[in-house]
Amino acid sequence: MRLNIIIGGKAGQGINKVSQIVSNVLVGYGYFTFNYRDYQSLIRGGHNFNTLSISDVQIESHEARADILIALDERTIKTHRQALKKNGLIITADEFKNEGRNINISLAGALIKIFGIPLVELEKEIKSQFKEFDKAIISAKKGYDSQKIIHQLKKLNNKPSILSGSQAIAIGAKNSGLDLYIAYPMTPATNAMNELAKDQVENKLMVFQAENEIAAANMALGASFAGAKTMTGTSGGGFDLMGETFSLQGISEIPLTVYLASRPGPGTGVPTYTAQSDLNVALRAGHGEFPRVVVAPGNPTETIEKTSEALYLAEKFRTLSIILSDKHLAESEFSSVESSNKTPKFKIIRKIPGKNLVKNSSYETDKFGNSTESYRLTTENANRRLAKYATLKDFIKDKFEMIKIHGNEKSKNLIVGWGSTSGVIKDVIKDLDAKFLQVLYMKPLSNRIKKELQEADNVILVECNLTGQLGRLIREKTGIKIENRLLKYNGRPFHTDELKNLIEGMI
């Protein structure tokens, strides 16, 4: 069972409220939801829409075609009419003009009735959200009474919970006992900062906005040196600015974890949309040669786990850990019944100022931490950094999940993908003869990837970028070129129905 609802309107009209209320009611009724947010870089006006997908099984993607269109303005109808399925339904905000600020609650009421869910479920949700709920409940009932039941949903026993990728970053960081998050605002990384900032005092952590990303990264490094668990976060442009500091991390070996939430570049690109085009820069930012970890979760559960792993590895190996996400993962709302793996807990036990004399440097150093230009020490230090990477790689191989295999394990059709594209691939292959190799650790890269590629007859690479960056990485490490590529780079993620058609044509 799958239903797809497009809810559109101007920025500021409250389309998110509609999808939020409806999602919460549905999840409470045992259904799984996935909410995709398509919004422009403006504060009022324009055209924004959410695509809310509903299913009785877990889903991590949305479809292009809609069963219902909720239009808060004219433009929504014009823009999305052609996406409406045959017999699809349009509900306009006009019908509830008199509800004023509560129009979106009436629209939510209309949807709840269409699904045949009892009104009390909606009333419960409204009471939990609003202090003054009397008027809201009247508006909800108006909406509810305006419709007939079309898709009768029966109550299910699932108990999913809703999370965005940004919330998951914050949960992972808190699970690991994060002390400081130091950043400069940049979509789509900012929501993670907001999440951490919310109850910072109660959570015994601090969120600080620096004057720019260069300051943020260097402050983070300074705080980490002083013995705090520290993280910074940004999107591509800010990440570029931090490059020199990553390099400083490499030589000073002060632990540093960075959250990189991508959006389409180059330049300012399409700032509120999505892309997987920053894998290359995540792998290579910073001059010189030094070890790093790049990990790319695909959904909120993995994001919680991989954020903790990144923080753990940064401290244990005194390395740079990069958590690579993107707008689609950071800002979509997933529902899931999965629980995350146990957090690898850690305490800072290295030497720290205040307790010891400890010197770290951007120069090559001698055993005291003072500058050296010795050719012998320069070689030794470089070799040590290389050896550290080898140890790190072995450790990750033993301890953490570097890849995942989904779908029919025996299939000779192999889809390769990563990050936010994983969700749609998982949903697509449910009814296909295909297996999906999801790459989670980009650096180090799992040795099992080569074997999987060799065993498959038909390999298809799926990524949201122009040049197939994971494909190139795999070719660099395995010598295998993946010829079949499905690449999308218009700022929008793959839709389930779209990708299914594409893959069906190739297997």
Binding site: A226, P353, G354, L357, K359
Partner: protein, 276 residues
């Protein structure tokens, strides 16, 4: 027992470079602070920038980070957030702070972390062989600027005042007692203390050197109007104009270590983040 601040590193400053005297003054200041029983040697954390001045990192047996060029200030602010109980000192040059890291300079005054910036101003990028910095005088000719500097120099004291600095001092790298006195007061100040050290470079930009005749000492000033006058007396350009030494401006503002509840709790309980 006298704490040992020396290291085994070979000192590579030019013979006679006033940086040697800055180092000596810093050592005397910190030795006194340790001997007074107020602080332990491990309570100090320094950050240094990149340049001739930054070699001081290798010559001081203190915890710290030898940072990236231009970034010694934000790194120090980070250290202070990471442990507000540390005594944090930054050593940086005029190229480092007034060019590469200028944004951090201005924001440091706004944030007002309880730490000290010691700025070795030799009106030249010395380690990179003498290119002009924002405080180089007009007409300064160097290999990279054979036509000479066309612009009037920046006046960092005025910039600091405009940025709501709570402590601005100036001292002379040839006057050890005055440096010790000034550094001691700067470290004692609650908030971001900025000390500009007028430091001749013996190799590059010699025309900017030997300003001692212009210098005179002042008593601590807390009046903004007077501070503005003092800042105006020397424009970093001409050979004329009086150069006031001492505390040009000091005022009281709450520090972030008091304002942020998370930091003030660590300060009050003398705890580390990891013991929170």
């Amino acid at each position: 027992m006298k704490p040992n601040l020396n290291t085994k590193s070979e000192n590579t400053w030019c013979p006679g470079c006033p940086n040697h005297m800055i180092l000596e003054s810093v050592k005397q200041t910190i030795v006194k602070l340790i001997q007074s029983g107020k602080h332990k040697q491990t309570d100090f954390a320094i950050t240094t920038d990149i340049g001739c001045h930054a070699k001081i990192f290798d010559y001081l047996n203190l915890s710290g980070i030898n940072c990236l060029h231009g970034r010694a200030i934000p790194t120090a602010i980070g250290i202070k957030m990471g442990n507000p109980n540390l005594k944090v000192l930054t050593f940086a040059g005029d190229g480092a702070v007034y060019a590469e890291g200028i944004s951090h300079f201005i924001h440091a005054f706004k944030y007002n972390a309880d730490m000290t910036l010691i700025l070795h101003d030799n009106q030249s990028f010395s380690l990179t062989t003498g290119q002009p910095t924002p405080t180089s005088q007009r007409g300064y000719i160097s290999k990279s600027a054979p036509l000479g500097v066309f612009d009037k120099p920046m006046n960092p004291i005025k910039l600091a005042l405009a940025s709501n600095a709570t402590f601005i001092a100036r001292t002379n790298a040839r006057d050890v007692p005055h440096m010790v006195e000034t550094f001691t007061k700067a470290i004692a100040h609650k908030g971001f203390s900025f000390v500009e050290v007028i430091q001749d470079c013996l190799i590059f930009n010699p025309d900017a050197n030997n300003k001692d005749k212009q210098m005179y000492k002042i008593k601590t000033n807390t009046n903004k109007k007077i501070a503005e006058k003092l800042a105006d007396e020397f424009d970093y350009n001409s050979k004329r104009g009086k150069i006031s030494l001492g505390i040009i401006y000091q005022s009281k503002e709450p520090t972030p270590e008091k304002k942020w509840p998370q930091l003030s709790e660590l300060l009050r309980s003398k705890k580390l983040w990891r013991d929170k």
